[in-house]
């Protein structure tokens, strides 16, 4: 029973174009969401977060959108760069409780 789903195991995008990574969750009690990037042989690196009181949060090339009614969030990377190639994990939870991670989406940005 996956509480956090990332239905695309992989995604390929041309350099300079937009990358859109999707994430769905099932628990309506979740109120805090995070995206992480992971390179091989390294721990996950925090990218961006959003709380349930907002529907959008931007940080440079990264924007996270939250649709609470659909229990869906997405990460947009614009413009995509080859260095963005990594596995991206979505995580959801409640502050003060543990976070549940999705299975990840492997992004490949092609030069």
């Amino acid at each position: 029973d996956q509480q956090v789903k990332q239905n695309s195991p992989s995604l390929s995008v041309q350099e300079g174009r937009i990358s859109i990574l999707n994430c769905d969750y099932t628990n309506s009690m979740f109120d805090y969401f995070l995206w992480y990037k992971k390179y091989p042989a390294e721990g996950p690196t925090f990218l961006i977060s959003i709380s349930s009181i907002k529907d959008k949060n931007e940080d440079g090339r990264f924007t996270v959108f939250l649709n609470k009614s659909a229990k869906h969030l997405s990460l947009h990377i614009v413009p995509s760069q080859p260095g963005d190639s990594a596995v991206y994990f979505c995580a959801a939870g409640r502050l003060g409780q543990n976070f549940v991670f999705g299975p990840g989406t492997r992004l490949s940005v092609l030069p």
Binding site: L34, E42, A91, F101
Partner: protein, 114 residues
């Protein structure tokens, strides 16, 4: 230190032996998490400590797994009688817990059970 540190970075052990993995969280972070990532899999939650509250052990896969956090800081994850399926990267993370902020991960310990 500035980040979450874990030791050892790599551990190779024989099936049936016990192993201990250590995590030093960021100073002042009240929440500490253990996750593991098996080859080709996502991040699997193991256990979560928040302040002085009883830990959330709901992710521990069997009673061979245990963890403790001493003095609200350093944590040790112990795996007894290791099995080959325990082979994974074990990731520790910490956060400010109820105060919010991102969960910061350590580099992980790669455990290989032969």
């Amino acid at each position: 230190g500035a980040g979450v540190s874990q030791s050892p970075s790599n551990k190779v052990t024989e099936k049936g032996k016990d192993v201990e993995l250590r995590c030093d969280p960021i100073s002042g972070h009240t929440a500490l998490y253990w996750y593991r990532q098996s080859l080709g899999q996502g991040l699997e939650f193991l256990i979560y400590f928040q302040g002085n509250s009883a830990p959330d052990k709901s992710g521990l896969p069997s009673d061979r797994f245990s963890a403790e956090r001493t003095g609200g800081s350093v944590s040790t994850l112990t795996i007894q009688r290791t099995q080959q399926e325990d082979s994974a990267v074990y990731l520790c993370a910490s956060s400010r817990g109820l105060a919010g902020g991102p969960v910061v991960f350590g580099p992980g310990t790669r455990l290989t059970v032969l």
